[in-house]
């Protein structure tokens, strides 16, 4: 899920720890991190399939099903009369929010690990073992 992630590499290799600028960088990277994309897919796609065709519901849809259903239950309690498809907007937004949270943790762990390595290694690659050129 990793490898050719975009973004400037400058100034990162020599950082001993994750400073303020590094935090911003992590947050920015988390918006499109592979972990973010993967989490959003896992939450949304299996549920969307079941929503399109009941027969396609599966155990993989459970996380999206729970998030969407609870969203509609809350929405129906505070603002009845909305049709349920309206809840797709907050559902997708909520799933993306959760995914960015996962992506932030992922990017933070990656940055920590890179910062812990010696400078040249960290400067060369942010990829996990096996994806780098070693």
């Amino acid at each position: 899920m990793s490898g050719d992630s975009p973004g400037p590499e400058s100034g990162r290799g020599s950082e001993p720890s994750i400073g303020h600028a590094g935090g911003l960088e992590i947050g920015r990277r988390a918006l499109t991190s592979p972990a973010t994309v993967a989490t959003a897919i896992v939450l949304i796609v299996p549920f969307a399939l079941g929503w399109l065709r009941t027969e396609l519901f599966s155990p993989l849809a459970l996380p999206g099903y729970v998030i969407y259903s609870i969203g509609t239950a809350i929405g129906n309690a505070i603002a009845p009369r909305f049709e349920f498809w309206v809840y797709w907007v907050p559902f997708v937004g909520g799933c993306y929010g959760i995914a960015v949270g996962v992506g932030t943790v992922y990017e933070w762990v990656r940055a920590r690990r890179d910062a812990g390595d010696d400078g040249t290694e960290a400067n060369r690659s942010h990829s996990p073992p096996g994806n780098s050129d070693d």
Binding site: F57, S58, P80
Partner: protein, 291 residues
Amino acid sequence: MRRRSALAAVTTLAGTAIAGVVSRPGGNDRLLAAAREGSDDVTTETTQLLPETVHETTLYELTAPDPGPTVMVFGGIHGDERNGIEAAHDATEWGPDAGQLVVVPETDRVAVENDERGGIDGDLNRHFPAGEEPTSDLARGIWDAVERYDPDVVLDLHRSLGIYGFHREYVGQALFHSADAHAHGRAIADALTADAIPWYLPFHRFTPQESTAGGPLLFQKAAAELDATAYLFETTAFLLNHATMTEQSRLVTAHVLAAHGGLEYDTGIGVAGTGEPEQESETEPDGGTSA
């Protein structure tokens, strides 16, 4: 990264399809086969209710050779709830093993034809106040037939837009029943859940719920005035398609028939025979052990 994301998406799709096929409950083909398996000795008669009026609709009377309960099933009291209409039409081809199965698939014919909830006089299921005359021509015509058959059991098939106890304004995935049907209501709801609700759709599990007596609904009037054991079934359009809602409506009809002796079929989970209900009730005062 794009290629990998695409690969992940494709993998997810494939996994979803496979996992869904493998782990979905298979309905209850044996029960429905038992319901459909008509003996040659079952006789079917049809009658027109409210003949020569705009409300004219067909009643099907299926009589088994052996004595048994009279079970009345209604679809289309709300004309846009197609699941109940279709399931009731199917039931007109069934073969009860004992007693009589009396079916009115399109109770509010005008509403059914307009594909709307209510017909000429609005919502038919508010026209049956207990202890009083029904409040519309259609309701009087329907109630005449109910009194004529004096059923032991009444089942009315519906669908809601949300889920009972979960979406505040909706009543789906529930089996409302008269006060005499705690054990049956719980057992049938559990049986439906086991047949039709996979574990990964937990909010769709069926809830049995005693109905308040004395309301203006047909099944409430039948319970109050004719001492019938009465059920009102609600599936939901929330995340379920027409085929799924219709299958659930068929299953509840067969389970009710079996639970009351109209079908020789033991579901094995406490409905018609020896089995124990799978779980004890938290909300039911008598613990589900008495009828």
